[in-house]
């Protein structure tokens, strides 16, 4: 039987099980999360983002090694928004970080959306609470860095590292990805390739044009070669110094408040939507709308408006009877 005590004790199997419940949108997850929540709030959450092919997984693998050398407990969540179709990433990412599998102070998990629309950022937030309560000091969230879900997930991170490579990620593409504003640390990976210095220089220049951050942190540009570990020790240090900065400046507390508020809003929206849609799907107005669309006697916009207008007229008794 899955219980909060085992998770709080850091049991990896129990942790994996509750994350599975979260992914499956199992209501049992809520009950556990309520117990775990008060024990969360101490981890440092790092976002690592970048286009496919820039070497995020390899870089994170090397970062794990550096954080372990500093005796930190490390958890990784690789978020794959494209998985409703393929699911292929789960295996690939895990294989890359396999060498840490035997280390009981390392926990690696891929999260997919399992076909649920829009639930991925919430599920990732839930998983972070679990890992935080399990005592992981560093929680790394890997995303591909495009799309609304990743944007929401990135807003969870206390520190965001944006990975690019020489050649591919030129200036226009960096602006295009719209991520320049969101990064705290910019990583030029595969720095053994020609053009690495130019790429780093271009980033420095673009960051120079960025309005000064309201947090007072000056973004850093670092070069790494994740495959042989070059520069990753420095990268780990810069992340930790950013954490330190966040704590001392009071920015971390502000960020945590914001995150908590967003978490509440997102839960509230989900639960309210579930409730109202359950009600709607049982209503005769909904069935009528489907018929009207099918017979082409009404356009989908008018049909949806008509169903929702009926919500005004529902009374308590009626609502309770239909449940």
């Amino acid at each position: 039987m899955l219980n909060a005590k085992d998770i709080l004790a850091g049991d990896q199997r129990a942790g994996a099980q509750v994350i599975r419940l979260i992914e499956d949108h199992d209501p049992a997850a809520f009950e556990l999360l309520k117990e775990l929540y008060p024990h969360s709030g101490t981890a440092f959450i790092i976002g690592i983002t970048g286009s496919p092919g820039v070497g995020k997984s390899t870089l994170i693998d090397a970062l794990i090694t550096e954080f372990r050398n500093l005796d930190k407990k490390v958890a990784v969540i690789a978020v794959d928004p494209s998985s409703p179709v393929s699911g292929g990433a789960i295996l690939g990412d895990r294989l890359r970080m396999q060498r840490h599998a035997a280390d009981e102070k390392v926990f690696i998990r891929s999260m997919a959306s399992r076909g649920q629309k829009g639930g991925l950022s919430r599920a990732t937030h839930d998983a972070v609470i679990v890992l935080d309560a399990m005592g992981y000091e560093m929680i790394i969230i890997e995303t591909v860095g495009a799309g609304q879900a990743e944007f929401d997930i990135a807003s969870l991170a206390h520190s965001t590292g944006i990975v690019s490579i020489p050649g591919a990620g030129d200036g226009i593409q960096a602006i295009k990805a719209g991520i320049l504003e969101t990064g705290d640390i910019f990583i030029v990976n595969k720095s053994e390739r020609p053009g690495a210095d130019a790429c780093a220089g271009e980033l420095e220049m673009m960051l120079g044009m960025r309005p000064p951050s309201s947090t007072g942190w000056a973004p850093r540009v670092l070069k790494t070669c994740a495959i042989d570990g070059t520069g990753v020790k420095d990268l780990a240090k810069v992340f930790l110094s950013h954490f330190d900065f966040m704590k001392k400046s009071g920015r971390l507390d502000v960020k945590k408040k914001e995150t908590e508020h967003l978490y509440f809003q997102s839960l509230l929206t989900q639960l309210a939507l579930e409730k109202i849609m359950q009600f709607i799907h049982r209503s005769p107005e909904f069935k009528q709308a489907l018929n009207n669309i099918e017979s082409r006697s009404m356009d989908p916009i008018s049909a949806a408006q008509k169903v929702v207008n009926c919500l005004c007229g529902l009374d308590t008794q009626d609502y309770k009877d239909r449940r």
Copy 2:
């Protein structure tokens, strides 16, 4: 004054204005969409997707030229889910296709999410209805092809072209992006680069391992060099032959029904959510929950559950009074 008649007559200024209303979530857009909807349903909708840097905009620019040579009216919607932060893409993409600006049978528009969560795929669908009603025969939707919003947008397309380039998009990354299953036509762009044949061969091999499509269409792999137009004429022909196949096999009608149903569901969800959240935000239970979270006397999960549980007790009178 913006009216449906001008839009149906193909007035580009009026079209741009209504798309702007859609992006702004202006309720006036609904009224126009209801008038336009019955006049939509004849366009061929092409999705073009791929990672940043593969040359999607340049390829679409070349495709426009080919479709114009066949005397087709062409519209392009470049969807940029990352724009809530930067907005930079809008200018960049437009610049690339600028040479068609004077052609009154070409309409190019970028869509950004304007900070609204999850509304981008719906807004894109709305815009497609407008362009379809305006008489555009080919509607090309450009997305970066990762993330839930793009996934939803891709499901709008009758034909999906997936763009990759030699070197960057190796096999593992293609699986990772989870897009192999969703493509009808695979395009190896920048085919002047070394490795183009190998890349095309690898795609052919991976497609060979894919289970046969339920539609009966055998996916095609084509090489293009968008910058000088090599291979783009063939690509245009293959898209048109896929459209032909969709029509003759009856698959197009099935797809249109599915799309219409999804459109209705998405409208219904949005409208129902707006209504219920308006109600919640005015309720004393919501304010109490915010206070409880602020004072740390309740975790956000319990607080959200408590607010939603109160929805059971609302009666019509109460609901109407608070509006």
